[in-house]
Symmetry: C2
Amino acid sequence: MNHAVLIALGDELLSGIRQEGNCSWLAEKLTRAGWKVDKIEILSDGGPDLEESLKYLAGRVDLIVLSGGLGPTHDDCTRLALARYLSVPLGEDRNTYDGVLARYPEENRAGLERSREAQSAIPLGTRGVHNPVGSALGIACTVRGTRIFAFPGVPAEFRAMAEQELAQDILMNDLRMTSVFVAGWPENLLKDHLAPVIEQKDLHISILPFPGLIEFVLRGEPERLEQAEARVRSLLPGDCLPPGASSLEEAVILESRKRNRTLSCAESCTGGLVGAALTEIPGSSEVFLGSAVCYSNQAKKSILSVSQEVLDTYGAVSPQCALSMAQGALRIYGSDLSLAVTGIAGPEGGSEEKPVGTVWFSTCGSGIEETTMRRFFGNRRAVRDRALMAGLEMLWRRIVKEV
Amino acid sequence: MNHAVLIALGDELLSGIRQEGNCSWLAEKLTRAGWKVDKIEILSDGGPDLEESLKYLAGRVDLIVLSGGLGPTHDDCTRLALARYLSVPLGEDRNTYDGVLARYPEENRAGLERSREAQSAIPLGTRGVHNPVGSALGIACTVRGTRIFAFPGVPAEFRAMAEQELAQDILMNDLRMTSVFVAGWPENLLKDHLAPVIEQKDLHISILPFPGLIEFVLRGEPERLEQAEARVRSLLPGDCLPPGASSLEEAVILESRKRNRTLSCAESCTGGLVGAALTEIPGSSEVFLGSAVCYSNQAKKSILSVSQEVLDTYGAVSPQCALSMAQGALRIYGSDLSLAVTGIAGPEGGSEEKPVGTVWFSTCGSGIEETTMRRFFGNRRAVRDRALMAGLEMLWRRIVKEV
């Protein structure tokens, strides 16, 4: 197995203002191609850590990819650190930089000429890497058998250059990892249930819990993977998202389109999260008609026709109100199915009878009406995210159950 | 200055399936408290790297915080790695685990008793850390003057335990970093405009562009910070979010509450993103009444009373439709102000006249009606996110302009 280490440079990543994304993006690509990423490091722009890491890693792993620190600003120090590590001076890669400039319209070139010295500099003896998106060159070299690449940290530039440089001999294979997404199972029970698959020696399994969904990741040889995935699906009838769906919202849209059923929602505590999640999926407009976000009781009455009596007698967080909201959505949007969500996201608004985290769901359509209550723990964001997931799961199961 | 290194454990982070979030969250807290985070490492669950890192780092930095690898599943190996590093066996912290169990209802305890052996184990001589959210204990110890903490990787657990354990003597100081959020400025123009502040030698400035918003981060001594922040605000009248708001949605809710104005939305291409963003803010229910997500033309007509004529003559992505949607929201919710968003998020649906990325916005209320068009680049997600930001900015500016 080939081993790689990925290193991101940037003080903004170490002060937590930005989250690292390039290395984890590349890590997924490498993993799918059968590589093992041993480590991801995030280091300071200007410090001595990069040289130390390179000294330690060269000769020990097959590939090192650096992200960031190649622009023209004061804290972009990767080219200098590489030159110091290689004990060579910086030289200029005129040709490659001219190739980059040629991509720009005439009127932008004067500005780029001013950055030439900084952006075209590479350590002597290394290769400048063409940038098809921005203007800073990348750097490539091989030290003690370890291939080292440095690309700019701007995500579009990093990704384009990594794909261009690593595509052929490094990222060639896209088949050795597959995922099955499972709804409605707690992690530990799922593990026991899937033990026959997990215990197979020639597979590497990861179980990744999301709120309301578990991703069961299998790695191994292509033909073994296919068998194992089929086994997992047969052990969990009705609980696996369909192939091609990696989220509940994708499953909802995919299964509705397959069955030609239109959808609508009525949302209170989720405030639009369900609509936003469903419309994230391209093609959702074929089946999703809309969502009536009715945060105030007044809006629940005037828009969804929830009666004052239901609100007075049972309150806005009740099965009666959830059902009435789902019926309202069905009527005002004229959809085949509807989902309603109403609950207490907190931090205010809880009571002993209905603590923060209490959420009522209802689905309506084709003469079937269902209501369910769930109680979620955590802060406002956690309650809302879990309510979103639970609502999507309910809607998905309902669509699949319909013929 | 105190130095910290943060280490996340997890094969799912190295295979790119999950993005690391705990360390960058803590890095921000530490930075704000005057700490320097030297490095963030992401390591494999079961490998020897954690021991190597601990050996290298103990005695060199003041604080090491580990995230992940403390649950009951087969790839949760942090407690074993710590025990090996400390050359001690694992022991059981009965008391602390009993304290965790006491938080759960009777019916859940049998399952947790089964995980007791795995989840209550800590290396002999270390301290078990109470988990106020989940069930796995954390671990705390001091080695060669370096304080070492290990918390579970589930974000809610990691954050609650880090806050609980580090609050007092580590995260005590919240004053050495401040941010001003600026709307409506491109990064390079803002840099020139704020040069008098940026060039001050005793401040460390970062400029962080988000879609539609730039965060201007200042670090330095408390009294210098205060002056510099005032200077920035005076150089950018009307474009800085109010103190206390770090996002456009917070600014919208804060300014509406201050002025006692109620809000509603009508959303097409954003599909609920605006409502979801506004209701993310605690207390939003005081001013936000709801959002009519009308994805289909039929819903725009029946719910928002957009006329067939407007749809036939101008189309759903037009100033006329945006205005009519905003008027509709104002009427059905009875709010003081409303925002409508309608556009083409792609990948389908674009034309030469109205390419993908074309979005019309409208705000209505108090006798003022405004419409604006923006054209965004990028994929579906980028267009929707930018439309969300632009819509929130328009709404925020509108609220602030009202008296």
